[in-house]
Amino acid sequence: MFEALLFYVFGFVILASALCVITARNPVYAALYLVLAFFTSSAIWLLLHAEFLAITLVLVYVGAVMVLFLFVVMMLDINLERLREGFWQYLPLGATVGFLMAAEMAAMLYGRWSGLATPPRALPPGYSNTKELGRLLYTDYVYAFELAAVVLLVAIIAAIALTLRRRKDSRSQDPSQQVKARRADRVRLVSMPSENDR
């Protein structure tokens, strides 16, 4: 009963913060509400004993992705009036996408409603969600997992290759050269006789 109560509280917080993400006028607020939504969904996953996935969600999305999002959003100079101009123009497309997503989710939920409603099995002592997940990933699904890793690697390299450019006027330092510099390379000591007072 206590878990059900927690679920409803978290569900309410997720819905409210997700709504705020799209209604907030300030993009920084929207990003922070999205952080809250991620945090709460990880709490719901914790209720399902999926501690590895829950903590990884916070670590990856809250700890890295959203930080970079905020980083960009804070530096943008967004004119809200101009953003609102095309509202009616984009409404049919947006409504279609929204309806499709809602229909897909409904098909998913109602199609398997009986399966979801059964209570989860009692966990044996010493059960580790992380260990089970790792075992599955590296045995049954190892090819899919490796493929995903390769796709990600290609994406990283592509992103770097797309943005990497060498400007002719950019200057950089070579730290190993700097460390190698000796006093004799830079300074020449000259022995001079002192000037006499006149």
């Binding site: 952080v35 903590i55 890295a64 930080v67 980083f71 804070m74 530096m75 992380t130």
Partner: protein
């Protein structure tokens, strides 16, 4: 004695509510027992920092308030408490207040999974190390939000620097931890300490040589230096860099809101030192086996090691000049991350050979 308390609660309130009340009260008592010493050690860490750096620079350090200056942190705390909290006119009020709180909460919450001695841990969860990584990565929001909400150029620059720096060094830190996980085979901090108590040298009675620091020495260095960068401590303190951007994200803060940033910074410093001890220096295990060492309680071993590592943080602050920003990025991305990746491969290969020492 605890069992009798539980029995008493169940007698008075019935089994379910009695158990719930007992759990709630005992957890609260444990939390207080962790937090009060933690707050005190943060306060006295500031004094120890000033004293140690003063001795290194042949000065005396604070010596006026109380005997040997021992009441200095108390005086500082009272002063900060009674200062006015100034809200800048054009700041975003709600986020301005929220930022220091968002910085302090993860710094405190991370202590829930730290084991202080065998069986002496508030929440003995299996994914303890992941939990700490996730929470410490949340700390960067305090800095970013503070910088943005202050509506000041200096604060904003500090926030930008900290966002880039913390995300970069988190990678190197995470990879260093992956190596520790590989050799100990667990994410649970108590198990990681226990795994360091086994090995050839431990069997010979020289426990200190079978801890992780020796076979994973490069990872220890990467972890410790990344920890310094994560907590924005000197020589990586360009986030506050007082010579360029005054005090970075903290420039508009005053009174207790300012103190919260300091509290979080020092708490994170102690946390990183504790993790270094748990992951690399054998936690509460004694240096070598002897009757005298066995007589010292495990928690004292842990605290003594933490004290040494924290002092190394202060030592490096007194020794090294501040890094330039591009040099910080170079160290993180071009030195540490390749080093950790290579070391993962080396340890992985080592563990497959007959000379694997971590069975």
């Amino acid at each position: 004695m605890l069992e009798s308390l539980l029995a008493y609660a169940e007698l008075k309130l019935g089994p379910t509510w009695g158990w719930a009340t007992y759990e709630l009260l005992s957890s609260l008592a444990f939390i207080v027992a962790i937090l009060v010493p933690l707050m005190l050690s943060v306060a006295y860490l500031t004094l120890w920092e000033r004293k140690l750096i003063a001795w290194m620079q042949i000065r005396i350090g604070p010596n006026r308030v109380g005997p040997l200056g021992l009441l200095q942190p108390i005086a500082d705390g009272i002063k900060l408490l009674f200062k006015e909290v100034i809200l800048p006119a054009n700041a975003n009020k709600a986020l301005f207040i929220l930022a220091p709180i968002a910085m302090l909460i993860p710094a405190i919450a991370a202590w829930a999974v730290i084991p202080f001695a065998p069986e002496l841990v508030l929440a003995d969860i299996n994914a303890g190390l992941l939990y700490i990584l996730a929470l410490t990565s949340f700390g960067v929001y305090g800095v970013i939000v503070a910088g943005w909400a202050s509506n000041s150029k200096y604060a904003f620059l500090g926030a930008m620097r900290s966002a880039a720096q913390m995300v970069s060094y988190e990678l190197a830190m995470g990879f260093a931890l992956v190596v520790v996980l590989m050799v100990s085979g667990s994410l649970n901090l108590s198990d990681i300490v226990a795994a360091q108590g086994r090995g050839r040298f431990a069997d010979m009675g020289l426990g200190a040589l079978s801890w992780n620091w020796l076979p994973l020495l490069p990872m220890l260095i990467v972890y410790f230096v990344s920890g310094m960068a994560e907590t924005n401590r000197a020589p990586f303190d360009v986030v506050e860099g007082e010579s360029e951007i005054v005090a970075g994200h903290m420039v508009e803060y005053s009174g207790m809101t300012f103190a919260l940033f300091f509290l979080a910074e020092y708490m994170n410093m102690i946390l990183i030192a504790t993790l270094t001890v748990i992951l690399f220096f054998g936690g509460w295990l004694p240096l070598w086996d002897s009757a005298l060492n066995a007589a010292i309680p495990p928690i004292l071993w842990l605290l003594a090691k933490i004290f040494v590592v924290v002092s190394m943080f202060l030592w490096s602050r007194a020794t090294f000049p501040r890094y330039r920003y591009d040099q910080i990025m170079r160290l993180g991305w071009k030195v540490f991350i390749p080093l950790t990746l290579v070391w993962i491969a080396v340890i992985g290969a080592w563990m497959q050979t007959p000379w694997n020492i971590w069975k």
